[in-house]
Amino acid sequence: MSAVTHPAPLADVQPLTGSQVVVAALKDQGVEVIFGYPGGAVLPLYDALFQQTDIRHILVRHEQAAVHAAEGYARSTGRVGVVLVTSGPGATNTVTGLTDALMDSVPIVCLTGQVPTHMIGNDAFQEADTVGITRPCTKHNYLVKDPADLARVLHEAFHVARSGRPGPVVVDLPKNILMGKAPYLAKAAFAPRSYNPAREPDPRRVEEAVELIARAERPIFYVGGGVINAGTEACVRLTELVRATGHPITLTLMGLGAYPASDPQFIGMLGMHGTYEANMAMYDCDVMVCIGARFDDRVTGRLDGFSPRSRKIHVDIDPSSINKNIKVDVPIVGDAERTLTAMLAAWQRQSNRIDRARTAGWWRQIDEWRKKDSLRFRQNGNGIKPQYAIQRLHALTRERDVYVTTDVGQHQMWAAQHFPFDKPLRWLTSGGLGTMGYGFPAALGVQIAHPEATVLCISGDASWVMNMQEMSTAMQYRLPVKTFILNNSYMGMVRQWQDFFHGNRHAESYMDSLPDFVKLAEAFGAVGLRATKPDEVDGVIEAALATRKPVIADIVVDRAENVYPMIPGGAAHNEIKLSPEEDDGPVKGEEGGMVLV
């Protein structure tokens, strides 16, 4: 690393307060923006932030949203997102966001206020056992009890958040530590004590993997968000390797954008609502190359029916992700970029021995599956099909620098299916935790990081209201996020499962008493728009894109539409169901699968 000059010497002359040390460490770490909400325990830190101009603070309206906004910032830039909240309720409100970031490997440093050290354990006002509560939902957490540790802990928090499999780190800061004197330690002088994940792959394993890939007759690349986390260079290497091999590639929900969706070798997303061709290819392949994905249950379906005849290669930076759900044949622990670079080099050394004709039959089979056109939907009736709205949104924003966030439910799956991405870092969705309320605050974080970009939040009528207070944040900072609510007056995904698995009984999934979203937007000072017929969709999208203000576009869609294809819980990939018109029978839950979520 190149030497950076630090303003640190000041610290040697006159000791800083703990709050000043925190600010110095954040600057040293290159932090430009913090998402937060003040309260008694963190007032000294807010005071220190007030007296400087390098770090911008964005005031959210709920601490959960602070974490999601920081996630949006982090996932669209590849940098660490920073959160600052007060003790007690401020800290407990971050738990959902932290869990979300843990599941989706998002680097976050969350600073929480704490009661002074001498009051810890006394049930003091706004005291919560923050390290206890957040231990299972963070990658690591710290309670700073000695001012001498403060600077080191902060640097270590950033180091832990961004290295290996990234994740959220909490630093709990008692008020007396923030107010007392504390020595500063520059980032350049910091060396991690124990956590130093290996990044270089074992070269023998890489050779073994490439040998397998070269000899495969029915290969498939199965790639996840880990490659995006490894950086845009990793995505470039991935694209080079996949193109060099000529093999098909499928991406997970988190991996979308890691490989260009417009490329003919891309066969779509896999998993519960993935394409027919991707899931059938996963089932039938003879060599599976998993890179930066984790064989989760939404992807594998029934474990004993998962890709029964393939040899499996798994590249992951996190050894504990390997052999967790699925036993693999060639485990490779390493950073995706370095591993892909090594694989590419090994491939080029072997390339004269490689016979592309070997996979011709496999491609013929894939093209057969592709003909099912499994994402097709039928325009029946006068209503707006949600898939159509998303396709139009894509068509009318293709020339723009566009980022998309979603909430959770049917609209999320339709967005994943119908809004293709050619670049990484553009697609932000809550995959692992499936957090309704993620989309809008995440979009605000994206817009903060990319002020000139077009940021779309594709949401549902139930999800959006879970963090709708953030429209105030959008107004305050003039963040022109465009929210498109695919309004079906239902918790659509819940309704879909009730139709399939619970005898059409719509227990509590109807969204009664929804607000008038147009008026709601206007109440905040934003722009409200509505489309109720297909021919109004383009006009609404164009109007939304034309304004510099935040927009809520209420797209009233067909309530009865279901997401297809679908692999019911507990089924295998080859038991995938296409839409009712195409398929033999209704989607039914397998007995064992019914207990799954």
């Binding site: 390290v131 206890g132 231990r135 299972p136 690591h140 309670l143 270590e156 832990v160 290996g164 004590r193 124990s194 956590y195 994940p197 996190d318 050894p319 504990s320 390997i322 052999n323 967790k324 036993k327």
Partner: protein
């Protein structure tokens, strides 16, 4: 076979800081893994390191998971699976209380003598024995004397020969 359950003794060298034990235990309880015994004590005061010995039972996949999850914890420096990387010496200590009439106590004492177990506390109505050995040795003694109370320390273990589980330099 991967599905076969096997008992493993795993040692970890960790920073001696508050919360480290909670992290280790949380890793087991949060994932439904089983802990048969767990011991922890500081072993290197200068570097502030403690050693945790864990005895657990699981399939090969679960044991691999446990080890990589342990290694991933920030305060954990080294992890060693003595069952795989062995051979190892394993010892346990127990304090065993026997009460009753004279005859019972005499019988217990005779067994203790025979098994090299020390008597560490006596009253006319009770004996407390200190027994060290493998867990099987302890089980054998306890089964024979039918105690009213037992306090076991859990397994401590160390690799045989000159292999060393020390901090990375």
């Amino acid at each position: 076979m991967a599905e076969e359950l096997r008992r493993h003794t795993i040692c970890a060298l960790v920073d001696n800081e508050p919360g480290v034990l909670a992290r280790v235990i949380g890793l087991f309880s949060g994932r439904g893994y089983n802990i048969e015994s767990l011991t922890v004590a500081q072993v290197d005061a200068r570097r502030g390191l403690s050693r945790i010995n864990i005895v657990t039972t699981g399939t090969e996949l679960v044991i691999e998971q446990i080890k990589s999850l342990l290694a991933k914890l920030v305060p954990v420096h080294r992890v060693q699976d003595l069952t795989v990387e062995g051979p190892a010496v394993e010892r346990e200590l127990a304090l065993v209380k026997v009460t009753g009439d004279r005859q019972r106590l005499v019988d217990a004492l005779r067994i203790a003598d025979f098994m090299d177990v020390r008597l560490v506390d006596r009253t006319p109505q009770s004996f407390v024995f200190e027994v060290t050995g493998t867990s099987d040795d302890l089980d054998a003694f306890i089964n024979l004397v039918e105690p009213v109370e037992v306090s076991r320390a859990g397994v401590v273990a160390i690799g045989r020969g000159d292999t060393v589980l020390g901090p990375r330099s």
